[in-house]
Symmetry: C2
Subunit: 322 residues, 2 copies
């Protein structure tokens, strides 16, 4: 906090990231429906917003009738959040706390924890452990988590199918491979680029999942190709449920979000026939995602490692092992 | 062409730009409707595709029945286009020519010129002069241009209105200004962020506009604010008509394209009442966009200069003068 109240001007780059989030309509709509549209959960209650950023979710909680909202933010965005809370005359309800969640001390326990902690393919930002820490330390028994439940989905896909209707442009995919650009692709796919119905890899209840259970996630699914074609990757995405029928969906075919989908390229093209069963496995461990797709005698495997750059938390160093 | 036929692997970065284009659904749909959906324009005809890139438009022309398609591409993407044409067994019809349009010699004149030359706010990529050069040199009298007509739209806007429903986050806009990030923003606005009905700045007929007329574009419009609020910028976008009712629209409220919209920030917030008349002026000259908004005794003016980086044509150096 030693930078003075105008220290935040140094971090404009971060502000633009938050703008991107604020312009993400499905994201904003789901949280607003879950908060402002759900007053009975908030009226007279205490709330904790973990990683409040610009403070928008915390302010919505205040507007939904919360008695007190603790808005915790570790970065200098806390200064911006404080100013926005003042600009919206909500200082009487929302208290912005500049600090790391694990070190923060609140004057009371809370009835609701709200957070937007999701990263690419759900786990990428690795912010969930802080939310779970907050839950175990500060949430009243029987308190509510928003989102309440998250689901990881996957489907084998062909990311170059249908890119140019009626034409075969799969060579572009081969070039991507040959150029070594086998990074997990954050990209918006069309539903018809999926080669099977999507499979639920796993659903986690935010009320009782433990950080230990998330250190290493290994999920298997088996799907049948719904047509003949080629598989060149596995597409991952997530949905978040907030209760009361509010669900934030980030899959192909939904309104695009800034998360889009994450495609782990196989580094190979697997020919499939309609009905072929494709067992595959996704392992995520400390931002490491590994995908196997098996078909008959062939196994295609690629391991992708994404590491946050120490100097710039918005940049990732990606390594791929085949 | 000295790099050999695999020289294109060096330019993967460019391939990813082309992928972005191919994933732009409204762009692809409009061109496909205008070409494959319009066989009578192509059947038995000769076609020139200026700046063919991956060759997709040229190949669609072949599928629409063209007798011969000359696909001219100045960059090394020509190698990729050649391979894609071969992969689609269209070498008999599509001839990819690696060269600068102004230097290329074709064996005959053409009946149709197809091109996707549009940049941000229509003129940014400055590729249109090459298309007009090609038209004047190679198009048969009475030949067709696709797109046939382009329209530049504008509307005063508030880019921070409605970013977080029910909250005032205009401070983020002020931070953007104070941080000197007054660059033309390429951003997708929602329709409700516009402060008036949009105004047509100008419509150009691709069949007869001259490059000289485009050296300096100056367009004025006058709109009335449709509600009280604040204006912090002018939003620019374009539509392209292809004839036969096919129109590619890139405005707020339409399905997003990779062009999104371009907002020139005013560097000031202008308070307006419902019905206030806002005369404004947009000047574009060699990638320089200037916007004036007048209201009563105040004039807000900002000049934005975007210059392509010599070393990387996908990077722009932006300077702003107030």
């Amino acid at each position: 906090e030693g930078q003075g109240e105008d220290g935040y001007f140094a971090s404009y780059g971060d502000v633009s990231v938050h703008e991107l989030m604020l312009r993400d309509r499905p994201r904003m709509q789901a949280y607003r429906d879950a908060i402002v549209g759900n007053r009975k959960m908030f009226e007279g209650k205490t709330v904790l917003d973990v990683g409040t950023g610009t403070g928008v979710l915390a302010m919505w909680c205040a507007q939904a009738g919360a008695r007190r909202v603790y808005a915790v933010e570790g970065s200098d965005m806390a200064h911006v959040a404080k100013k926005l809370v003042a600009a919206n005359k909500l200082e009487g309800v929302v208290e912005v706390i500049h600090g790391v969640m694990e070190d923060v001390s609140l004057p009371e326990k809370v009835d609701v924890i709200v957070s937007e902690w999701m990263g690419f393919y759900l786990f990428h930002e690795a912010m969930l452990p802080s939310v779970l820490f907050a839950r175990d330390k500060w949430l009243n028994k029987g308190g509510a988590m928003l989102p309440s439940e998250v689901t990881l989905w996957a489907a084998p896909c062909n990311t170059y199918a249908c890119l140019a209707e009626g034409l075969d442009v799969s060579l572009l995919g081969e070039m991507r491979e040959e150029a070594g650009a086998g990074a997990p692709n954050v990209v918006q796919l069309e539903e018809r680029m999926l080669m099977s119905a999507p499979a639920v890899l796993e659903t986690w209840d935010c009320g009782d999942v433990t950080a230990e259970e998330l250190v290493s996630v290994r999920a298997k699914a088996s799907v049948a190709a719904d047509r003949a074609g080629q598989v060149n990757g596995v597409c991952l995405w997530f949905d978040c449920a907030f209760g009361e029928g509010v669900v934030l969906k980030t899959g192909p075919g939904e309104d695009p979000t800034h998360w889009m989908q994450t495609v782990v390229m196989l580094g190979a093209t697997v020919e499939v026939e309609k009905g072929d069963v494709l067992p595959f496995e996704v392992c995520a461990k400390a931002c490491r995602v590994q995908v196997h797709v098996h078909r008959r005698t062939h196994t295609h495997c690629r391991q992708v490692h994404m590491k946050q750059d120490d100097a710039n938390s918005r940049r990732y160093i990606v390594t791929v092992t085949t």
